[in-house]
Symmetry: C2
Subunit: 340 residues, 2 copies
């Protein structure tokens, strides 16, 4: 059978020779690095800091391929970004596949290459992994888990700084919101909207590193994925003594996303992003932070979108374009399952 | 709705309020520890050694509950054992759930408790996690990924010692083989064999630590999961200049497993274990190692099952009870999918 028609068999996941060939000929070929070559059940890694950051994420996105990326790229970006927003420098990731029997080998190859490319760009090494194959019909094509380890520079550590958030601090974001969720929605349902929406899926570690290396007043960072910017801001205010006020006219929303959201009845504030970071920082340094972000390819449209206020503690309030005010609550229903 | 009838909804995985409640009321309640309370996308952990061990595993076992354990216990044991056989002391694990919409909440609670109990027994902390819910029919009930981090004591580091394996070294195991695979098979197919077979699912970190702390000549350890003891020994000989000879009469196989294997045509050497470790050590210290293993609850039936030989390099050969010889090849087909 030619490689193009080859399909995943149950024996690709059984721990035997055929699985070994898949690992050697596909995974190692693309992920290859000196650590992966240990070929052990767990990999031994150098640890040169007193603290490490650790994260995990499973990706069940449907469809696997979408404008702007695929599940492989997404699995790297998601984990790299989770490490980065904690102030860590992402170093190592694991990749674990759950594959449906009969899955086309050529799609797996494409996804593995995409995963490897994105890891290379981000400067992280794929150092360990796992492969399981389940019978046809027992999972939807392919799920990927990535876990990651990052190095913490204590001086740049963000944990704890959240307590120093004060009214007057500003909320920043590195560009237009809602692109990932709407791109996936469009790809899934084949709406064929005229203005094409591309996922913003990207690794933010370099952009975040530039900000943290050259400024000192970032107090909080989070990537607004599932639940969007609204959910991040609600988690941040929570039971705290401050509120957050955002200005609708300041919210960067692209034409395509705006059109789709209006037509389908979504609020871009709740739609997932995969290449965005929400930053809270002291006002005095926000000009400098914006400047640094705008210099990065992934931050050209960075903007201040709101501020921390002493009014309405625990609540996120949107000042609408027409001058009204609306409480932005956290998400309850799920309008967009399986977008990551 | 009473807790007993409650089912998993898509909104349990959407990043919003209902997911937050699940995390707080179920996961944090059972997994709680000071690190988990960071509630961040990645957790910051202390790192007090120059090297760390890192591993990942996805669990897709069917059925979720089986004699001797469930997917929760298994997910802890699998990752703890992968770290332990590399000579690391397991410290931290992540847990990532992929749940099918409609999954009974009471089963999830049982599994989460089991996972928490096993982690406590093993002395590892569950420090970070992720939850995804997919539409009904898009995964088979529940999959769990656990990744783990362990501390490496350089003096106890096993990586590299594999190169010192020589003819004359002995192969040890801590008890009867094939129990996990046969217990799962029995539970799945409802064969109702008279002699009940219970999975050996267990965390081996304490047993392994006792061996490594009191001896110096262990050269290799591996947990014989998918593909069984045969696969571990084949991976070990690989392209090396030594072979391995195992004696059938020395192989510890329980009555129940023997009966099931004979009836169903399985070879216990290829059947998965989840609480066993294969050890290769210099002959001179094997008496001492056996003594230590036998003192541990999980090693009472430890035995020497074979030796490293200069004959038939790269090959594993079984001396049968009747005096014949048979090459034990690595697994190709998959007689038992989804046993882990």
């Amino acid at each position: 059978m030619s490689r193009n028609e080859e399909k995943i068999l149950l024996s690709h996941g059984n721990g035997g020779r055929i699985m070994h060939e898949l690992i050697t000929n596909l995974f190692f070929m693309h992920f290859g690095n000196r650590f992966l070559k240990q070929q052990s059940d767990s990999v031994i890694l150098p640890s040169d800091s007193d603290e490490i950051a650790f994260t995990t994420d499973s990706f069940v996105i449907d469809p696997l391929f979408f404008p702007g990326g695929d599940i492989g790229k997404l699995a790297v970006c998601g984990t790299v970004n989770d490490l980065s927003v904690s102030g860590a420098e992402p170093l190592f990731i694991s990749v674990s596949f759950i594959i449906e029997e009969g899955f086309p080998m050529k799609d797996l190859v494409t996804i593995v290459k995409s995963l490897a490319d994105e890891a290379k760009k981000a400067g992280v090494l794929i150092v360990t992994g796992d492969t399981k194959v389940v019978n046809k019909g027992k999972c939807d094509k392919l799920f990927i888990n990535t876990s990651g380890i990052g190095r913490i520079n204590k001086a740049k550590r963000l944990a704890g700084k959240i307590r120093s958030i004060r009214p007057g601090d500003l909320i920043l974001i590195n560009g237009p919101i809602g692109e990932h969720g709407m791109a996936v929605m469009n790809a899934r349902e084949s709406f064929n909207f005229k203005t094409p929406v591309k996922s913003d899926c990207a690794c933010l570690n370099h952009l975040i590193r530039e900000v943290l290396d050259h400024t000192t007043s970032v107090k909080f960072m989070r990537d607004p994925t599932r639940g969007g910017v609204a959910t991040v801001l609600n988690e941040l205010t929570g039971t705290k003594k401050f509120g957050i006020s955002i200005d609708e006219p300041d919210l960067p929303v692209g034409k395509g996303v705006r059109a789709m959201c209006e037509l389908l009845g979504f609020d871009p504030l709740y739609v997932a992003n995969e290449g965005k970071v929400v930053i809270v920082a002291a006002e005095k340094e926000c000009g400098r932070i914006l400047e640094i972000m705008k210099k990065n390819e992934l931050g050209k449209q960075s903007a201040v979108i709101g501020k921390v206020v002493s009014d309405h503690p625990g609540k996120v309030v949107l000042k609408t374009e027409t001058g009204g005010k609306r409480i932005i609550d956290s998400l309850t229903g799920d309008p967009l399952p399986r977008i990551c």
